[in-house]
Symmetry: C2
Amino acid sequence: MRSHYCGQLNETLVDQTVSLCGWVHRRRDHGGVIFLDLRDRDGIAQVVVDPDTAEAFATADRARSEYVLRISGRVRLRPEGTQNPKMPTGLIEVLAKEVEVLNTAATPPFQLDEHGRVGEEVRLKHRYIDLRRPEMIEKLRLRSRISHNVRDFLEGQGFLDIETPVLTRATPEGARDYLVPSRTHPGSFFALPQSPQLFKQLLMVAGFDRYYQIAKCFRDEDLRADRQPEFTQIDLEASFVSEEDIMGITEAMIRQLFQEVLDVELPEFPRMTWADAMHRFGSDKPDMRIPLMLVDVDDLMQQVDFQVFSGPASAADGRVAALKVPGGGGMSRKVIDEYTKFVGIYGAKGLAWIKVNERAKGIEGLQSPIVKFMENVIEELLDRVGAEDGDIIFFGADKAKVVNEALGALRVKLGEDLNLYTQPWAPLWVVDFPMFEADDNGRLSPLHHPFTSPSCSPEELKENPAGALSRAYDMVLNGTELGGGSIRIHDQAMQSTVFEILGIGEEEAREKFGFLLDALHYGAPPHGGLAFGLDRLVMLMAGARTIREVIAFPKTQSAGCLLTDAPGEVSADQLKDLNIRLRQKAKAESGSE
Amino acid sequence: MRSHYCGQLNETLVDQTVSLCGWVHRRRDHGGVIFLDLRDRDGIAQVVVDPDTAEAFATADRARSEYVLRISGRVRLRPEGTQNPKMPTGLIEVLAKEVEVLNTAATPPFQLDEHGRVGEEVRLKHRYIDLRRPEMIEKLRLRSRISHNVRDFLEGQGFLDIETPVLTRATPEGARDYLVPSRTHPGSFFALPQSPQLFKQLLMVAGFDRYYQIAKCFRDEDLRADRQPEFTQIDLEASFVSEEDIMGITEAMIRQLFQEVLDVELPEFPRMTWADAMHRFGSDKPDMRIPLMLVDVDDLMQQVDFQVFSGPASAADGRVAALKVPGGGGMSRKVIDEYTKFVGIYGAKGLAWIKVNERAKGIEGLQSPIVKFMENVIEELLDRVGAEDGDIIFFGADKAKVVNEALGALRVKLGEDLNLYTQPWAPLWVVDFPMFEADDNGRLSPLHHPFTSPSCSPEELKENPAGALSRAYDMVLNGTELGGGSIRIHDQAMQSTVFEILGIGEEEAREKFGFLLDALHYGAPPHGGLAFGLDRLVMLMAGARTIREVIAFPKTQSAGCLLTDAPGEVSADQLKDLNIRLRQKAKAESGSE
């Protein structure tokens, strides 16, 4: 029906007859002539309809915004002075010979140009209109290219695309499962997978050697800003590999992806231990575009006569750290107050600061509510953080966890607010994670999942589980965790030890993961893998602010779909078929019996 | 950890040192030497461990079936007389220098070579062992190649890979939905999609122009032999297209797929109307490898004095058809009885037949229980079916539906039993389907789905809905429906007419498909598409007998997974979170209240 996409037209086609199909993006009547901007997924072309072509003119005259038209006509250069060099098709226009209305359109609930004026709710409800915006089409086109590029790379590396079940059992990630009642097994339920973790390990036991899948995963969690109940993973696993193999392959994959899709040459991926990341950046996914760093001052603050600092500085689980912002000395009291409120979100009880006005003047050259308490250590402190005139130094003093989270978040916020970025892309590997994390009662839980291999022997693990490190690795880009993985346990004895430490009894282990434990008995190879969050990867690469912008039909924060009005009510017969009833209704029924 | 896959070894590597990782497929001790067949996903290599390498020998001596080993050694030619030209690696062997046990293995529940001796249940329960069989790995590798080839083709044609939701609303296919209770919307349920139909139409309204997805779909149906509760579709849709465009693109896709993956040049895809297919082959997916055809003999049988034939021949909804099997005259009574039983499955009350022993002898040369009734038409009958000496002619006489189904199935069975195939691959397009089918009460329902466009105007459709044809098309290969699709309705008025004919009131239509109807208001382009069943396509290409063989983790007939024991029980708390309770349990509870 068309000879070209609108966006493909250019000067080389002058004098040729083309046919276009698309939507009326804008219509103007000017000097007795109708100008139609015709839009398709590739761009916008200007169509001129002259009263001389009477039939075409009459048809075009009926056309309204978002009508679907087919147009044929001759490409010509726009008259001098009306050219628009900002538009790819801005040098030419099409003089229409024929105009056909393929479909009419009711007045849309919002104009594409004015999508910012309506709330996200309206746009989600009419998603098929919101998706017409060229930038939305571009983002989903980018997503398609990213998926395909990743697949090409992995196929080239010998990874096989193998589909794992969606109707399955609870998986070990520990978030809340989505459940599916079974009709043929009354009283039983499938769980939608939180990841293909167990199945990919089984595929390794089966000998597939290299597996990948771009897989839908599901978590029924209360949604934070950047979560969706269904999300997509680039999931991969390989046998007879070490950390280096998996990190090498996936780093090459991401580098090639950025190269081929964005024409960006990513810098080297430095490696950082988890301990180092927490210590220096207060985060296990530090944004390395930001040249700010947490500096330890525990030893100094133990010497000050200021309980708020000396207490945490001396406590085993406490920490006092400084965060210097070069040139930040000009911050107003109001701005500092805002940052104080900000770190409060992370549990910090305050935000101490020192402005370095004139270092040469000694303590007189400093401005700060707290400096009076630390005269004895001030020079050493300023030396340690490398303070210069015009800087501001923030302090966190609390439990280490609070200090890390508060100053870590403050660091990222300062980077954004002050636009401190030193580079557009800063990738990073974080390695040497702890095997376990302890809750307040000292109970251990796996930092990743219970199939992650420790980097020590079962005996060493038993001896000091809290200090054990795992063979896990996370890929971080610009402060976002792109993906994470590990070498898995392939040895029965090690797996039992881990379950034991986690307080998972034999019976519970069998009931939950029996089939995997069985599989480990029958010749499991050493194996490991990694899973990337595709939505977040695309979001970063598209420069989008939320993953909702890179998902065609996203859900809201309450896990609903405004477009289709899902979830919805179902009939009593359907529930009966599934051997379930609604809790509320069941109560009402029992009352009337 | 390895330098080569086992299956990669060949004579060019003689005298090189290689390292291999894999499973002990077989172990033999012969003449004081240990022979290990080491298996990985690429093949099997023979490893020789000599007592001279004492440490390696001692390790190899511990190795049992399915142990996981790493071996390094020198490639050498096998001694004259011990070569195995049937094996790709049969000319060489590896003389081990080092042998390392990476993991032990308990005695597997069945030997790979002897999988045929255990039932499918045992193999599904230990699927990770069953998948180790080289032919299983091959089938899933083929599946991976097929997916990737299809993606490459569609990407090349400008189709964008766009993911549609899995947690969604009921879709219009009409099979039973899998439901997912919502925690955040108590009393409401998501449905898992039976297809991405509605979403892909919305993507066309949004202007994506060309969409594809390899998508998981779900139907909670009682499973026939060749169904799975979750299955995979190659789903595509395009805008501003006609039937010819979609058929052209998808035919090219399948031709290229067969060419590149199987090295098979598919013949031309002939087209056949649905009416023709039913009439000549008794099926809407005729297997064109079989050179048998149903021949209409209504006009002749109206003239015979045999109510069993003359009745259906004269009835409006009746049919009498003949199916000649060349050279089938030698069938024993027992075989004919079996075929009679077979057509009984499809509702046929009997299977009349005539054996043509010597046509020159006239009626004397025929053998048949029924020929005496049809002396007056016998010569014309024999001429019409082209009967020759040695043939057998079967007859169906009943309602047309019964005759078509019974003789259609018999035709396929005869083709298989007598190996009548004229070619390995026989593709076909079936077109011009009826818009609707009538149930026994004359109630119309859509043959495809209610968004399929008829090939006439709304007025003509209203006038004669039962006679209207649709713009649908099915691709058939070797008697299997590979895929089906249609040009959709993009016009509100047409959509309303179709709903009206189907007896779907405005309110019901709004409730079920309101968002699509809305979308049709706002400038929907003409569009159409097609969906292929990937599982069946792979099954055909792999020469597998069931789709279970080409799915890594299939479910049983009762929609359960023997490996993971899914579906399983869930906790009371989980049910409470979801605002549901079990029907059985709810009863017990109300009794005790």
